[in-house]
Subunit: 566 residues, 2 copies
């Protein structure tokens, strides 16, 4: 029962279920017993009601409700379960803390707009399964209790009771097992599957998340791209009713990093970067000159028509830039009265003209620039670019008309581990590389491009994949470059390496983040699209896990807890 | 490449993939280069082949192969990956140990008959999803890292890194979470989901297994039975091409236990039991007389037309009975020459006649009887009955014509824990009971019938479910009878009990064992229907899990291993 209203002697009861609301009406004179019962009812009680469906009286029709033309005249009423006052009001959920809503998640899930998310999620999962089944893929279940082969993130472990001191891991992905399925000759595999990562959580991550896992043998990138594009055409048609044109654009990693400072830029708005270093080389302006001397760069972007921002607003933008990790922000306002902004007067007219030309700017535009080490400037401006677009309303985040959807290709095969400075696999160590870059493996490993690819929508990476290495000699070479010894490789991946020796076909695949895809389709946070999500501390507030357990259980697992000294 | 044959100057190569085999042919005179390459090939190599599809010469057509009318004349050949000799021959897999086949599971999975199992499993999962989606159910994912609420079996635990000494459990089923979804107003839920139990394994159990989990609100048993029956009609039509009549028969627990000595009897053959105690009361025959004196029973069955078994065969049957836990087996052979068997001459003619009448036997039949405590005799005979049916070929295990498929209803609500003698929930503590038995809860708890039900096919329990308790007072009463204190109930299920207070609707549901269903459809063991199964010691031989892990990981989890003293 959503609510009860007593109006002019009549009692109106709104019943709510997954399909909407229906109005019941009780006439005190006709049904005094039912009336007496109805007076006891409160919101969120569960009732069984008998009655006669009838047209609403004229003037009482509610055109906003699918059931707004009828009402049910109650003839009998049974209370199936009462309900005390809720910890928060369903129609005022935004006033409740997220903590309270997560603790009473089953109440939060009663809200129609929240239920919509899970109905969409169900339908998208159906679209996914129909798509892959229709294209000849088999859904095959891979194990959840697997060998610990940590890569990237930390494994969640499961202690074995039968083998003391031995552990299973929860899979970070079914990567190795799907490759084994390819070796087994299942040429087209998919699975909607839970994955687990014990990492420090950011707001868009969850310790357990769901991915659509896909692998194909004897396939090049075109086959995989085609399969994915046909799927996203269906998903976007279904969820938003829009048609997207394929093939989707393909941008190189190098291009999107240089132009948008991100490997998953949102292209619903412009704001491309230009490297202004050459325009400003030789300036007297100290900040720029000293940075260029130290090998730094000047990178800028042009905000169309925003030359009118006030000094105060510019100050706010500079603060925003610092929050994005930039040391500062230089500005030029191209006003009708001439140049203004922090850089005006600091550089020569010729330099200013060169900058304007490079940024294709015209009177009325606002130019923003940052100075420093190239990778840091690109990264900071990449974050700032998104915030600028929101601030200046350069796109409508609620519009579904023209999503920004494209491939990023030619990722570097290796990246430097930020902590240790050592070479690490950008994707995972089974990722292939472009044949034409093979000669660079030893001499310029950072310049070797991999066969990895991402699909990016509205600034989110929805899909990631690669063509794998299927040759055990190539795989050994990569391990060598990653400084993974033969012994370590054997210990960690020995069973995969052995499988690759037994006639492994060429293979490639992808993993689509299902939670993130639903998030992208519905808006909101990742916690909104998971029925029982965990907090940033990986706690489940609805059931209170993790929790202490019966000491006998730990004894049976041959484990002793050693709490850190506080 | 499945195999290469050199025949009369020609080379024949069989290519194998998921869809079947195709024959390639190389003509040495026409393609000397390809011939030289082809001579290098061995079985299980992965090759890329170019060629011309042509009709096979007359007399070479193979009607047994879908591709038997054509062959591909090879024009080019590339070796994509070689393969050393396999650890076992694919067409002689039955000669390899199961251990070897599990270690090289990816090779075992190459066998066409094994691949068939996973293609069927994929299609059955599709049928399941289409069925439930079509009937308005939403597939909603429940968490895998949950609160430990052990019931029945032991939980697998996952240590928390962030909260030292705290643990998640892997779910034994999504029972509590699907009940929360019902409280949330998702009136029809299903999920194909992995579940986990850390129990000592029997041959038909796995530590991780898959179930089709279903829950419905405002539904009585009829709604749930209808949903399940419509599903099994589709599954059996799809897998075996047969039509089954619904509604399926419903047998009470009491009836199947008394008549077949099992709560999941196979009814593809007869062999019902009769209680012969009254027929034989007052006999001088010591074995029977003393047993009846002690409150025991005589229970027998009639094997039609098998009076001709030899003394030696009867001895074998007695051995079989002892393996089934029976102390012995008494027999009467109704031969044309008169009575024979171990009981002939030991009982009076009138008693023998009464036994024959009770068992509806006639000349030519073999009567087998066991004596002792009723529950033990029923249990032992229940196992023996199945073995007798196999031995006397009373049914064709490979026939799909008349499967034995029916409901078992009216299970007892409580059972005695075999170890402690204490009262325990037969199903789980949230199972409801028949209203008409409510008055027995305190006085005769063992006679209270629950709202639980099973679906049994060919002697396997494929589905189990119940109507739940949705009233928190009723639930408290059950906990009290189960000797679960308020404190313990709060600690273990507090969050569910609280949810039930907030307007929980009546609800019921079921869980279908997917592995066991596929097993029932394909024959074989549970390990045959799981891509990467575990052994009876819960080991995964393909990846070597569980395994030792980096000590740093354990340190981060605040755990120390305490190995048992050997």
């Amino acid at each position: 029962m959503a609510r009860r209203r007593d109006l002019g002697g009549l009692i109106f009861i709104d019943l709510r279920d997954r399909y909407g609301k229906t109005q019941m009406v009780v006439h005190p004179e006709e049904s005094p017993d039912v009336t007496a019962q109805a007076h006891q009812l409160h919101a969120e009680w569960v009732i069984e009601a008998d009655g006669i469906v009838q047209e609403r009286p004229q003037g009482m029709v509610n055109r906003d409700l699918p059931t707004g033309e009828i009402e049910v005249k109650l003839t009998a009423l049974t209370v199936l379960n009462p309900c005390p006052a809720l910890p928060f009001q369903l129609d005022e959920a935004d006033k409740a803390s997220e903590e309270l809503r997560l603790k009473y998640r089953y109440l939060d899930l009663r809200r129609p707009e929240v239920q919509e998310v899970f109905m969409l999620r169900h339908r998208v999962a159906q679209v996914v399964r129909e798509h892959f089944s229709g294209e000849g893929f088999l859904e095959i279940e891979t194990p959840f209790m697997v060998k610990s082969t940590p890569e990237g993130a930390r494994d969640y472990l499961v202690p074995s009771r039968i083998f003391p001191g031995h552990f299973y891991a929860l899979p970070q992905s079914p990567q190795i097992y799907k490759q084994l399925l390819m070796v087994a000759g299942f040429d087209r595999y998919f699975q909607i599957v839970r994955c687990f990562r014990d990492e420090d959580l950011r707001s868009d991550r969850q310790p357990e998340f769901t991915q659509v896992d896909v692998e194909i043998t004897f396939a090049d990138r075109e086959v995989i791209f085609g399969t994915a594009e046909r799927l996203f055409v269906k998903i976007l048609k279904h969820a938003w009713g829009i048609d997207i044109a394929t093939p989707l654009p393909r941008l190189t990693y190098q291009h999107v990093m240089d132009t948008y400072g991100s490997d998953k830029p949102d292209l619903r708005f412009g704001l491309p970067f230009s490297n202004l270093t050459d325009c400003l080389r030789g300036t007297d302006f100290r900040i720029i000159a000293s940075s260029i001397e130290e090998g730094g760069v000047v990178i800028g972007l042009c905000v169309k028509g925003q030359a009118g921002v006030s000094r105060k607003e510019l100050g706010e933008l500079e603060n925003l830039a610092r929050q994005c990790g930039l040391p500062g922000l230089l500005s030029l306002k191209l006003t009708a009265e001439g140049l203004a902004g922090s850089l005006s007067g600091k550089i020569s007219e010729a330099q200013a003209a060169a900058v304007c030309k490079e940024l294709k700017s015209e009177t009325g535009d606002l130019l923003l620039m940052a100075v420093g080490k190239k990778s840091a400037v690109l990264k900071g401006l990449g974050v700032l670019r998104r915030l600028l677009a929101e601030r200046f309303r350069l796109f409508d985040p609620n519009s579904h008309e023209n999503p920004s959807l494209f491939w990023v290709v030619d990722f570097p095969l290796f990246e430097r581990n930020e902590e240790t400075g050592e070479v690490a696999a950008s994707h995972h160590p089974f990722t292939g590389y472009l044949t034409e870059d093979e000669h660079l493996l030893e001499s310029e490993p950072w310049n070797v491009r991999s066969t990895a690819y991402d699909l990016v929508m509205n600034g989110s990476e929805l899909l990631s994949g690669s063509i794998r290495i299927h040759d055990s000699a190539q795989q050994a070479k990569i391990f060598q470059l990653l400084k993974i010894s033969d012994e370590e490789a054997q210990l960690r991946f020995g069973f995969l390496l052995e499988a690759l020796r037994y006639g492994a076909p060429p293979m490639g695949g992808m993993a689509i983040g299902l939670d993130r895809t639903i998030m992208c389709l519905t808006g909101g946070s990742i916690r909104d699209v998971i029925a029982f999500p965990k907090t940033n501390l990986a706690q489940s507030l609805v059931d209170g896990s993790p929790s202490e357990v019966d000491p006998q259980l730990l004894k049976d697992l041959h484990l002793v807890i050693q709490k850190p000294k506080s």
